[in-house]
Symmetry: C2
Subunit: 208 residues, 2 copies
DNA sequence: TAGATTGTTAATCGATTAACAATC
DNA sequence: TAGATTGTTAATCGATTAACAATC
């Protein structure tokens, strides 16, 4: 369970609902029942209704759910309507890929700065955001107060930078490094993405 | 539950055990009790013992676990000792980042090919693996029989390529695209990595 | 032998599914 | 009104935690 009282399992499913509803909208559909949505997403209708009812009553008996309306509600629940400032640390291949391909605005964030330790990268623009030198991070944060940081740097660097960012008021992390933020900072909100772990899990599944 | 009878929750924790044991080894430690490991990893000792006992009896009463031995056992369980051939589809920023930074050999795989639709990339080497044109994928697979594919391409392309790869004998996917492989191919092993979903989850946590 | 710590069973907790009355 | 489908409560299932006998 979370501070909000909603279980993590439910929250983790919300983005997928959001995506599916977006596709249905694109297909020109306007309403859908929990039953039909469950068929499409390969879940149970029960689960969908339970999940949604954590946040309110968005459907109508005998009718189902209005797709556009429901998608908007989920957007609000996820906070997509109030983007928060985020910075990206590390402009190597991975950092650049993130900066290039992720539509931050559509995911609830506003990318306001990119930082790297490599002088040669400083000044380059990625999607209208300039890469700055890591030595200017402190000052930048004091001025711009980002709420979230995306860590695309190695483990050792992450520990130090993360410590600093938390002192500067950063509350959440999208963490690509192997540094285990929560161990040192139990109150930080962290989403870990560990490619290596996913590969090993896949290896297990393919080996057994 | 899995074909192997081990629950997914357990399997997902194995890579983290593996990483922690590696660090303990680096620190020069040789043994550890479930209690001390649980303190370091912020889990319960019970859970650690339960998890490990799914696969065998690796500890000793009154002593604990031998770190090196346990790490090796987990490596075997994960299949890291028998690397499987994998190919990477899409050599944009993300694909390149993956090819550059991930130590495939250490994660149970052997990267044998990289493919892209962009002619200008063809022939470039990434870590000794040449980028090939996507039109040669079919032939390459027939000759080299890769077991796994990493999809770093957009949703639409993924659907088509994935279909083809499964026909060519690919069994597992590390999927960065929004194409929902399991819906069309229930028997494929899939690990999804959706940056966007993780960002939205983070947005939720920072908004509530 | 006494102390420590495992492997394993039993108890608890939480998440998912089923059922159904309420209602559009 | 009758049919459909929700919201919600109850039942089931699975995962985590606690307890403890076995044993090094």
């Amino acid at each position: 369970m979370n501070p909000t009282g909603i279980s993590n399992s439910v929250i983790k499913r919300l983005p997928r609902y959001y995506r599916f509803l977006g596709e249905l909208k694109k297909e020109g559909m306007t309403r859908i029942s929990s039953r039909e949505l469950s068929d499409r997403m390969h879940l149970t209708a029960s689960q969908i209704r339970q999940d949604l009812n954590c946040f309110g009553e968005f459907g109508q008996q005998g009718y189902g759910y209005n797709i556009e309306l429901l998608q908007n509600e989920i957007a609000k629940i996820l906070g997509l309507d109030k983007p928060q400032n985020a910075i990206l640390i590390g402009a190597g291949n991975l950092g650049k890929a993130i900066a290039h391909y992720i539509n931050f605005e559509a995911k609830g964030f506003h990318l306001i700065g990119i930082f790297d330790a490599k002088e040669s990268l400083v000044g380059q623009m990625v999607r209208n955001v300039p890469i700055r030198h890591i030595s200017t991070l402190d000052e930048f944060c004091r001025e711009n107060m980002p709420r979230a940081a995306i860590l695309c740097i190695p483990k050792e660097a992450s520990k130090e930078i993360c410590n600093m960012l938390i002192k500067l008021g950063v509350k959440g992390f999208l963490n690509f490094s192997h540094y285990d933020i929560s161990l040192d900072h139990p109150d930080a909100e962290v989403e870990n993405i560990h490619f290596g772990d996913s590969l090993m899990t896949l290896s297990y599944k393919l080996s057994n």
